[in-house]
């Protein structure tokens, strides 16, 4: 009974002594988190990691930028501080037994773009530049979509042209071909308008497949003007019961070259080689 009381008393004594003892041994890390101009950075997260044991602790700085990490074992630590809008800062500190180490932490990049030799014109963008890019992209998207839609009546008018231009053609065949050709022409010129009117971006050179895409426009562009003119002549000759003759005979070949150049222009920006 006596022995039990003794053990109990010793246990209570140890419990009472352990906290002050720990407080005496433990180190404390404290300080202020500021930015480069010296202003406090509130609510920054400060974490420490013991480089030997790997044990870590974390706290959050208060609204005045003050942080406090008590009860740390003496030793070498890696201190990491982070806050929104700042790159994480990591530093090392050695804590000694029973001492309070004050480490003021400065957030913010040490280096600036000027240090790298970039001029202001290179580093500063503008809403106008972005608006020009947005308008260009928007117009080219419309160009692309209408251009793709135009493919259907172009192909259909080439196919119907075979029936419209034959020996035994009906007026229905010719009118169908004419309607499809007109739809193809309208969509083509609408698409071309968006490509031509899309804003140019200063200082850019045309490189890659888009060069071929643009070059082919010099074939299908005039072709799309010439084809309906020749088609109209051929249509009149046929409607008058005549055989297609003279310059109108070129309508078919010109249309095929135009449609081929148009298809190649689409493929030029769709396939990679």
């Amino acid at each position: 009974m006596k022995a039990t009381k003794l053990i109990l008393a010793a246990g209570i004594l140890m419990l009472l002594l352990s906290e002050p003892l720990r407080a005496q041994v433990a180190a404390k890390l404290a300080g202020t988190v500021t930015n480069q101009s010296g202003a406090v950075v509130p609510n920054a997260r400060v974490s420490v990691k013991n480089l030997v044991t790997g044990q870590s602790a974390e706290t959050q700085a208060d609204s005045a930028g003050l942080y406090n990490l008590p009860n740390l074992m003496p030793g070498d630590y890696e201190v990491s501080v982070s806050a929104e809008g700042f790159p994480t800062k990591v530093t090392k500190v050695t804590l000694t037994q029973g001492a309070t180490q004050t480490v003021n932490l400065t957030l913010g990049g040490v280096l600036s773009l000027e240090d790298l030799g970039f001029s202001q014109t290179q580093t500063q963008g503008s809403a106008q530049d972005q608006a020009r890019l947005d308008k260009r992209s928007h117009m080219l998207k419309v160009h692309q979509r209408i251009g793709l839609i135009a493919t259907a009546p172009i192909v259909a008018s080439v196919i119907t042209g075979v029936f419209a231009g034959g020996k035994s053609t009906s007026s229905t065949d010719r009118w169908t071909h004419l309607a499809l050709g007109s739809a193809a022409g309208d969509l083509y010129f609408l698409s071309a308008y968006y490509a031509i009117r899309a804003p140019r971006i200063p200082g850019t050179q045309t490189r890659g497949p888009i060069r071929l895409h643009k070059a082919l426009a010099w074939i299908h562009g005039p072709g799309m003007i010439l084809t309906p003119i020749l088609g109209a002549i051929a249509f009149n000759q046929k409607s008058n019961g005549e055989k297609v003759h003279g310059i109108a005979k070129a309508h078919g070949p010109v249309a095929i070259v135009t449609a081929s150049a148009y298809g190649a222009a689409i493929l030029a920006v769709s396939l990679k080689w």
């Binding site: 790159p87 970039f118 530049d129 890019l133 050179q205 045309t206 990679k272």
Partner: protein, 180 residues
Amino acid sequence: MKQKILITFLFLALTTFAQTDSQWVLSQSTLTYHVSHPLHQTDGVSHAARGKGVCHAGQCDFLIAVPVKSFDSGDSNRDLHMLQVTRGGEFPMVMVRTSLPEDASASTTIHADLEVQFAGQAVEYKQVPFEQAKQGNETKISGTIPATLSDFKIDPPSLLTIAVKNEIPVRVEMTWRREK
């Protein structure tokens, strides 16, 4: 005599202090982003990055920056489209900041916490592994930043109305030169 000793001491002290600070300069770089599209696998390359690292008290702060429009995918139309979707007109630079302990240059692999500022957004990539190899006074660093379009709130660009994949890993190959 005392004055001479004092001057010598001051000189030595100043030299010692000066030696504690050093800096790194980016001498060569190749940054390559990769875009996947059902019709295309595209790489955009830039050699225009500039960078510096300033070391003090065992810690080095690095800044690497590259103009968005310097990336060349071999097609000016695509590059302008990328410039537009990444809001390069308004935010013309990509900036990468990182902080590393000075002794990190001794190991063959470094894990860097990167803060990337791009397209008006700041995104952190934690513990990105980079291989490093020393060659004389120079150190070659290579690795891949696992960037995605959604990280930077970028709408995926599309070709023939089909959007590209969200992942745009950026391969980094850099040569750094240490200067005292």
